[in-house]
Symmetry: C2
Subunit: 208 residues, 2 copies
DNA sequence: AATAGTATTAACCGGGTCGGTCAACAGGCT
DNA sequence: AGCCTGTTGACCGACCCGGTTAATACTATT
């Protein structure tokens, strides 16, 4: 790929990247017209081929970009160091919301990439996509202090419930094209507070 | 469309229908090759064009078929007449499982149809797809007796939690192509039982 | 204003795909 | 053989798509 791309104003880079996410998220790799990406980015197809040698290079660049963006966001949010499970979830939510605002089609793109079947690509895709991204997260639940939770609660099932509801929540948002960040966050906060009230012994602090 | 189609053995009809669901679920209407459908159904493209005048007719037929199938299934399951919410959910689950086994790609197809943008189609799609199918179901929660639930539970939030988790559950299953019906049902039963244990006052009967 | 250098595009090419048609074929029945 | 019904391979014209290239617009420098 042409290094000139990095010299572009960030604004324009993002427009191109998002256009790529959008088109590749909608169609298979093979059925995603480069022209459509260029159009959506507001540039000509020729220029796109000036920055990226060919379609494949563009695609793989986008895939690497996903990794880069998410890793950076996760590190910045401090989502890894968690004391209590609800805190972790809240942090995760905020980063996800920020990401969805900046790159609306990124997650759908990466999901589609994960299931891409094109023989030219699948090998290289699996080389780039970090395996843990799509792992069944609920199996790696963080250590929790059982004393904090109400008696008789099956913690594994609790985590499963929370995890599934979160997935459903994000999924519904990714479906509709109307994405109001504030509403999104406050709705999810309500959910977290509800879970706290149901599962936690002491109805203590609410998340800020 | 040609009435001869209905004279076909049910087996063959289903193969064609499912092939249509599968291909149209993967791609946009415009980018769904009729040939691929024929191939997947094990017949020739020519024959497909013998039964259906053109691509559009085939598509709309499939859409009407979705309505027909789901309506029939819902009526048969008695999912409408519900005493308690968990019972309703359980019935709904079983019908959904049955449907997913018989028509694996149907729900993804109908979802995609809902968001189809093709100018030739969107008008006629909206004419066929019954509006209530995609309504936010959790707003139409059935009348519940508050006494049965533990004190202090926010019933609306409870229903929201359950609804979202179910969506997430179905969504995860629709993603992966491995669909084990038994495992599916038993997993969901576990969830329902968990919810009962958490939300209900008397830990009574488990669902059969 | 002329030049030079860079960013950007319109026009084009060859190969492939797709919706749709049609003449032909296969197989059972009389 | 002749007929009917179900089925297909081969074909067509239009369009699409990845990629190239020659030309244009833009900007800065002299």
């Amino acid at each position: 790929m042409n290094d000139k791309f990095y010299a572009l104003p960030r604004e324009k880079q993002k427009r191109i990247i998002n256009a790529g996410f959008s088109v590749f998220a909608k169609n298979t790799y093979k059925k995603s017209p480069v022209n459509e990406i260029a159009l959506e980015a507001g540039i000509s197809k020729s220029l796109l081929f000036f920055y990226f040698r060919n379609k494949k290079e563009l695609y793989l660049f986008l895939l690497r970009t996903v990794e880069e963006i998410t890793n950076k966001a996760l590190k910045e949010s401090g989502a890894y160091e968690g004391e209590d499970i609800f805190d972790i979830m809240y942090k995760g939510l905020m980063t996800k919301a920020r990401l969805m605002k900046a790159y609306p089609d990124m997650s759908r793109f990466s999901l589609k990439a994960y299931y891409e079947k094109d023989p030219d690509l699948s090998r290289e895709i699996r080389k780039i996509v970090s395996p843990y991204t799509r792992i069944e997260t609920y199996k790696a639940l963080p250590p929790m202090d059982p004393k904090k939770f109400k008696d008789g609660i099956d913690l594994n099932m609790m985590y499963r419930d929370i995890f599934l509801a979160s997935e459903g929540f994000f999924w519904k948002i990714e479906q509709g094209d109307n994405f109001n960040e504030d509403e999104f966050v406050s709705e999810y906060k309500k959910l977290i507070d509800f879970w706290k009230s149901v599962y936690l012994k002491e109805e203590g602090w609410k998340c800020t």
